[in-house]
């Protein structure tokens, strides 16, 4: 099993979610996050005072998938989240040792 972590543009979340549903992905965890990569931040002005905001709002997805599905899930995310412009985000993949469903106590791929 693998944990696919994707940080994407917030307005691309719907596209990514729909695309993953068609692949049979059953669930995901989503958080609003702030970060920066190569995309620069922006400035905000409140009452004439300028503020530099280096962090840009992004959405982070965490999806645990079976090894066999990792490649198609990753490709689906990249295709759905991409705009070709700077700031599209990143996807990284980590090995997962164990998964437990809290309700039933099932373990491993059955718990996905």
């Amino acid at each position: 099993m693998k944990l696919v972590v994707a940080v994407i543009k917030p307005f691309k979340l719907d596209d990514v979610k729909e695309s993953l549903k068609t692949l049979g992905v059953h669930g995901m965890t989503v958080s609003e996050v702030q970060g920066f990569g190569r995309q620069r931040g922006h400035t905000e002005v409140y009452r004439g005072a300028e503020y530099e905001v280096e962090f840009v709002p992004k959405v982070q997805l965490e999806i645990v998938v079976d090894d066999a599905q990792v490649e198609e899930v990753t490709t689906a995310i990249v295709d759905a989240a991409g705009t070709g412009k700077i700031g599209d985000g990143k996807v990284w993949i980590l090995p997962v040792e164990e998964v437990v469903r809290v309700r039933t106590g099932e373990r491993g791929p059955e718990a996905l």
Partner: protein
């Protein structure tokens, strides 16, 4: 034997229900400008960690002025003057000067500086006809309670305005002492001098609704208080972001429309001057708002039409028209909005980089939007005061017995002895006399507000061993001072003394179902 018939009179002969209704309504509008208007505006343009502190000081400040006003303040601002020797009493109970030269001038000033303090709580003080040196032209058509409450809401909003200068470090207790002291020593004096029939009103200085007595005084006092206090924490100054612009809009909107009562209530009768004042207030405010937005969009570094800039422009317009509301015409109102906002915008962006402005941490910039806008609004009355905008007119009777209001020009040529009241501005009469009177009164208000605020702040510093919180309290803000947060997270907080894992005695309600022994499996299917 028939008993003499008793007639119950809800309306004494002097009472006009329309005037009384408008006066109490206008006063309520002005009260809403403080609570919630200003409280919500200020609380939402400070960072999250200071919102509760601002709200607490706003509501406590309003209550403190409420009590001090009815216990002693109202009589100081609008009661009988502390008359000395050699001064005769005029019809209105206001001292008239015997001479205007030498010692007499000084004496005249001090005899007409302040009213005798006292409570306004008795049945007669509340229900009797309002009498004050504030109005010697026509009698009031409502009871003292209406006048005292109308004046109270003005007295109350003034210290709340300059809370914007001192927030983010002043001790709650210091604030609670400063408010009644300041209201007594600064506000009541200026109110008496300009409105209560005191020296400057006798000299001819005018302030329709408080460009000087309220806004300029608040701006100057806030600036001086902020100077004595010292700046906010460096971290707070670096991260002073508003916590909610939508709520700021709610507060700002209440402030604008509440101003209809602020300026519309000051003729003291529900007549033509009130309506004119309301319209002028709105015209000037719209002009001021748009002026700031345009300047932001075209001349600021960011070249963006900011919303909080619009709020600043709105306040400049509101403050600028306040001293002249019913005495300028609609065209004058546009000029006042344009000029006041432009001056304040330039000051906000450039003067703020110059000493002493660059060295004093006036947190919300009250000195600009209230102090400077009020100063120029008051002067512009001397320029754009239109003698045909009559606050108190006179009328001729036509053939049908209807009163026809006429202009000053018509009066000058007529045979009537009645003198209507309008203001002779420079632009209409070529006379700079009013401008000069305005300038003298402005100078007084600036010096008196600055001096007394300085002394009061130092007095409190001495008595309370410092008027600002320690840095470790300032770093936390609301939670350290009040034990409350503006936006608490319910999932992370659990009531002490209730439920599982709670310490102390467990609170159990009657008929509370006991938790099931066997948890029912959820009916949900799927993986």
């Amino acid at each position: 034997m028939l008993a003499a018939a008793v007639t119950y009179v809800p309306y004494p002969s002097w009472l006009n229900p329309g005037d009384n209704t408008w006066q109490i309504t206008a006063a309520t509008f002005v009260g809403l400008m403080s609570l919630p208007g200003l409280a919500v505006l200020y609380a939402s343009i400070v960072p999250k960690k200071w919102a509760v502190n601002v709200l607490g000081m706003m509501f406590a400040g309003f209550s403190l002025v409420m009590l001090s006003w009815f216990l002693w303040g109202y009589k100081m601002g609008f009661g009988v003057p502390s008359v000395g020797h050699g001064v005769t009493q005029g019809v209105s109970g206001i001292a008239q000067a015997n001479d205007e030269t030498g010692v007499g001038w000084v004496k005249h000033f001090f005899d007409n500086l302040i009213g005798v303090p006292g409570p306004a709580l008795s049945p007669q003080a509340e229900q009797g006809q309002a009498v004050s040196g504030a109005n010697t032209i026509i009698p009031f058509h409502f009871p003292t309670a209406s006048l005292a409450y109308f004046q109270l809401v003005f007295a109350a909003i003034t210290p709340l305005l300059f809370l914007g200068s001192v927030l983010g470090r002043i001790k709650f207790l210091a604030w609670c002492l400063l408010v009644p002291l300041w209201s007594t020593c600064v506000y009541s004096v200026d109110a008496f001098l300009l409105w209560g029939g005191g020296y400057f009103s006798q000299e001819g200085a005018l302030d329709f609704s408080g460009g000087y007595v309220i806004h300029m005084s608040a701006g100057v006092s806030g600036f001086v208080a902020a100077w004595v206090l010292g700046p906010r924490l460096l971290r707070d100054r670096q991260h002073f972001l508003p916590n909610n612009l939508v709520m700021a809009a709610v507060g700002a909107g209440i402030l604008w429309l509440g101003w209809n009562g602020f300026n519309g209530g000051d003729p003291y009768y529900a007549g033509a001057s009130a309506a004119g004042a309301v319209v002028n207030t709105n015209i000037c405010t719209a002009t001021g708002l748009l002026t700031w937005v345009a300047l932001d969009a075209w001349l600021s570094k960011e070249k963006k039409p900011t919303f909080l800039g619009a709020v600043n422009g709105m306040i400049c317009g509101l403050v600028g028209i306040t001293p002249c509301a019913g005495w300028v015409n609609g065209q004058g109102a546009i000029y006042v909005g344009l000029i006041c906002t432009t001056i304040v915008w330039v000051a906000w962006n450039f003067l703020s980089k110059v000493r002493p402005f660059s060295k004093v941490d006036d947190a919300l910039g009250v000195i600009y939007t209230h102090g400077i806008a009020g100063f120029f609004g008051g002067l512009l009355l001397g320029v754009f005061g239109d003698p045909n905008m009559l606050e108190y007119g006179c009328g001729h009777l036509d053939a049908a017995g209807q009163v026809i209001a006429t202009t000053t020009t018509q009066y000058a040529t007529g045979s009537s002895k009645c003198t209507p009241f309008g203001v002779d501005g420079l632009a209409y009469t070529g006379s700079a006399h009013q401008l000069w009177e305005q300038f003298r009164a402005a100078l007084w208000v600036i010096i008196w507000s600055a001096l007394v605020t300085f002394l009061l702040m130092h007095l409190l510093k001495l008595v309370l061993r410092g008027v600002r919180y320690k840095d470790e309290i300032l770093e936390v803000g609301d939670l350290a001072i009040h034990g409350e947060e503006a936006f608490p997270e319910e999932a992370f907080a659990s009531r002490v003394g209730i439920g599982v894992g709670a310490s102390g005695s467990e609170e159990v309600f009657e008929n509370e179902p006991s938790p099931p022994d066997d948890p029912v499996p959820s009916g949900g299917s799927g993986s």
